[in-house]
Assembly symmetry: D3
Homo-oligomer: 123 residues x 6
């Protein structure tokens, strides 16, 4: 599953590059969307995020692609690898800027871990 | 091309449903992303949006899917139909909530209309 | 009824002009304010927005004037024409940048259409 | 000159009343808009705000009216009284919630005080 | 008690200096945090803010320090002096940019003033 | 060095708990502030963040304390441990909610790593 966003002035740090904290917020959001698309009736919270490296500064106007793939499927949790690519304004090539894995856990209404529902077949 | 987002408290109007203006902002953004994915070297601005109807209130926690399809391809502009579906929290079914068409025009650096580059083949 | 706002960096797209989606959000908001000023006891939601054209890029620092006029008055709905003018920073003249019509419908607490209350006389 | 806004969930503090800091931000913004409407070619910055009292909590969905009146006109500065009234959702009566005075000073491009241009006659 | 923040593009006015309204929002927030650190079980609202002067423009990338000191302790209210210093990007020296006093009042759940709890000793 | 913030409605996910992505954004910001306080003349970017676990949901109105301690000091980079504690509204006790380590690297204007300046003695 791929997700896309555009870097605008409101997302920049004071050096006029993408603020790392905004990247982390998007990664968390898109991992959640991936999980809820595969398990629509589950109630998920983010449990963990792997170590991350910021190796490339991202510029205003870049299009980001968040490639999200299921990596591990547990009884009560699911882990997605999120790889982020950027394509600069008016450029053709995209390049790798960020990568991590996000684990989400399925909770019952009382806040305790509960088994995941079955995977939605069509995704 | 499909795009996804989650409705959170910051997106709600004072009745605690999705604020229509936020929906319009997302529609504009995803039509732009669709265009830039197909024509990466173009410089686009939104030129027009068709009449819109809001027929369904959208709740906090709903997942929105923005289905974006190219509808018309002109010499200097391109038009995308954007159809939005919502899936309520922990529900399986999605339902139609919104539909419009967005026209983007390709501009030269001097701000004048300029022919679109050729379509990126792989999309 | 006129409404005003200033375009600041947080409202810009990556070309450093006003992001069209932000304009649409303001138009939706000011049409609602106009309706609630005329019908304070009603419970309104946006039902429709006419086709829109973006014919002028708006710069950082511009003052926007949203001129909102009641255009049609139905039994359960009301329509406002919204015309937007911009005045550039330190300039004297304003120019037309955007125009549409927004229809709002009066809802009962159960979400069904309900007749509008009588118009507040003093507005 | 009157300005209007609607209190939405994104403006609330954790008690679900209007966050005072958001009120102050709006007061600052509307005083600036009033000044720039009267002196379009000036370059203004806020210089001072009078002591303020928050005497009423404002609820989600309230419509705020910012009544802005010129109070003092100096050679290089101008002061506006800002009185804020709220009208609760579906209520007819508005009530006083806030009052202050904001002084703006006219600056030259080098950042030094400079005489105000003449007042725009039609406002 | 000292609080810190960084000025980023989203905080700027259209002249690319810190928007005064954002400064006021931070001052209100940090005075509240100071109060809640000293009186954790109280329920506070901002009651008043002293006259303020903006004497220095603050640039993108500056680090702000909000120095907050208890100034007056009443039976149902407490007043903090907030002095704000800025340090420009890659500069060593900080300079005074803003100063005010914020009064918070302790409320009971019914919204009436109620005596402050005893001061948390360790702060 | 300790940093504080209050969780408000705009920071919540659709379950009305703190959105994990907002926590990550704050952690990134406060690690940066810690670094810039110790090395004011450096130009820092975030290079890495350790694996993180979200073990506790954080409620609206909670006060967060970000305890930031320098953990490693390299020639061109510095690493801070960030431990986050929450204190619920009107509660006296705080509890541990989050922990990670953030590495920042010192860059020259050309974007290459450059040795850190000497540590500011008074911090």
């Amino acid at each position: 599953m791929d997700f896309y966003t555009i870097v605008r002035p409101e997302h920049l740090n004071h050096y006029h590059y993408l603020f790392g904290g905004v990247m982390l917020r998007w990664v968390d959001e898109y991992a959640y969307v991936a999980a809820i698309r595969e398990f629509p009736t589950a109630r998920f919270v983010t449990r963990a995020m792997d170590q991350v490296s910021f190796t490339q500064s991202v510029k205003n106007g870049a299009m980001l692609r968040f490639q999200v793939k299921r990596e591990k499927l547990g009884k009560t949790s699911v882990c997605y690898r999120v790889v982020v690519f950027a394509r600069d304004l008016q450029a053709k090539e995209e390049y790798h800027v960020f990568e991590t894995a996000v684990t989400l856990v399925s909770l019952a209404p009382d806040g305790k871990k509960t088994p995941l529902p079955s995977l939605l077949p069509e995704l």
